[in-house]
């Protein structure tokens, strides 16, 4: 069953649309008058175009109002910037060579992924992650008892799956950091007097 909304409801809604704020804004009579006038104008134009909203569309109407408000809020913070950084290196090989020259050691780093995300106003969570898939140090001194000085130890059962996915299951090192957005908490912290 559809039911028409009275003009007063529409005026009320239109006023809400034009105030785009709380009741605190009704401080001055002139402002109130201006809002009522604008609300009435909107209602008249709606009546003339025979687009006075039906009851079913009332929900949509109020949603539109809140959406517009949200947009206004966004407009005030549109100077914010979202930063996002991502680096992915499939492998880095570093060779330590002395002045003779002879090679002392080779450092191999594979599957390095670093990423970070934050925004300038710090209104959202900032995240950073670093993952190193494989780190190996080869001993290139002659007669070395252990040719591989440092490597992630092989997990049992890896032998069946083959050597291709030797560093797919668990990365050598992974670090994740999540920073909370800057906010005001009512927690009081007592710092020592000589802190600063």
């Amino acid at each position: 069953m559809e039911r028409d909304i009275t003009a007063s409801t529409v005026i009320k809604n239109s006023v809400r649309m034009h105030t785009s704020g709380g009741a605190d804004n009704f401080r001055h009579n002139e402002e109130l008058a201006r809002m009522l006038r604008e609300g009435a104008d909107t209602t008249i134009s709606l009546l003339r175009s025979k687009a006075l909203p039906k009851y079913s569309s009332k929900v949509n109407y109020s949603q539109r109002i809140s959406a517009e408000r949200r947009q206004n809020d966004l407009r005030t913070t549109c100077d914010d910037c979202q930063y996002s950084f991502r680096a992915s290196l499939s492998g880095v090989v570093l060779s330590l060579i002395d002045r003779v020259p002879s090679e002392v050691a080779v450092v191999t780093v594979r599957k390095v992924v670093a990423m970070a995300e934050w925004n300038a106003h710090r209104s959202a969570e900032a995240t950073a992650a670093l993952s190193v898939g494989w780190l190996q140090i080869d001993n290139h001194c002659p007669n070395a008892p252990f040719p591989v000085a440092l490597s992630p130890s092989q997990v049992k059962g890896d032998d069946d799956t083959g050597s291709d996915n030797e560093y797919t299951n668990r990365p050598f090192l992974s670090i994740g950091i999540v920073l909370a957005p800057s906010h005001k908490s009512s927690i009081t912290v007592r710092l020592p007097d000589d802190y600063f």
């Binding site: 002395d98 001993n139 252990f146 670090i175 920073l179 909370a180 912290v189």
Partner: protein
């Protein structure tokens, strides 16, 4: 006093199991290498100062190595001023196992020594003889006495014993050192405080791993390895 706190919601560090196999010669040579780089940086800094002091107009195009120490000290100073109180909602460091194997280094043949250069050859020979200097007298953390010769009979015998001792004490095979995880919830501290806390955690873990380390020494016949071998064989 109310201050704005930086709040970390979560820090997670995960390290996979590592196997580390090393001999003293490698450690010494890498240390020697890094010390060489450091001394080179110092030298290039001095040269730069001399050039700047004499105000020489350079006609040649010389590319100076960037002064890394200056950059690093600048960074550390800025870090120091930022040692603010921080709130950690959760820090998690996952457990990992370190498999350590140490073997005595093998002496170089004369051809290899010639190829590696006199410095590396001297390091290998000194490590082989067990001429260790630990702490103050050494350049780095561990040093070797390079170029010492045993002339008297007594010195030769002492040298043999020293060599045997160093050999047996520095021989262990697949010691598993377990480092358990660390979880901190709702912690309020500065970064240096946190570093000390984590450092203490790992130091205590290292202490609790000393029995496993001693039990795996070849000098005692590697009882831990024997038992592990039994266990692996039975299952």
């Amino acid at each position: 006093m109310i201050s704005i706190l930086q709040c970390l919601e979560g820090v997670t560090i995960s390290l996979s199991d590592i196997s580390l196999g090393s001999d003293l010669a490698l450690v010494m040579r890498i240390q020697h290498h890094l010390l060489g780089i450091l001394s080179h940086l110092d030298r290039s800094k001095d040269q730069k100062e001399i050039i700047e002091a004499q105000n020489i107009v350079l006609t040649k195009d010389i590319w100076q190595f960037p002064d890394l120490t200056q950059i690093l000290t600048l960074k550390s100073v800025s870090k120091k001023s930022g040692s603010k109180m921080m709130y950690f909602e959760g820090i998690t460091i996952l457990p990992f196992t370190l498999k350590l194997s140490v073997a005595p280094s093998v002496a170089l043949t004369s051809a290899q020594a010639a190829l590696e250069g006199p410095e590396a050859g001297a390091i290998h020979a000194a490590v082989r003889k067990g001429d260790l200097l630990i702490g103050g007298k050494a350049d780095g953390v561990v040093g070797v006495k390079i170029g010492s010769k045993n002339r008297t009979a007594m010195a030769v015998i002492r040298g043999i014993f020293k060599s045997i001792l160093v050999d047996s004490l520095l021989r262990c095979d697949d010691v598993s050192l377990n480092f358990s995880g660390l979880a901190v919830r709702n912690h309020l501290s500065t970064i240096p405080q946190l570093k000390t806390f984590i450092g203490l955690h790992y130091l205590s873990l290292l202490k609790s791993n000393v029995p496993a380390l001693l039990g795996s020494l070849a000098a005692f016949g590697n009882p831990v390895g024997l038992i592990r071998g039994f266990g692996d064989g039975v299952t």
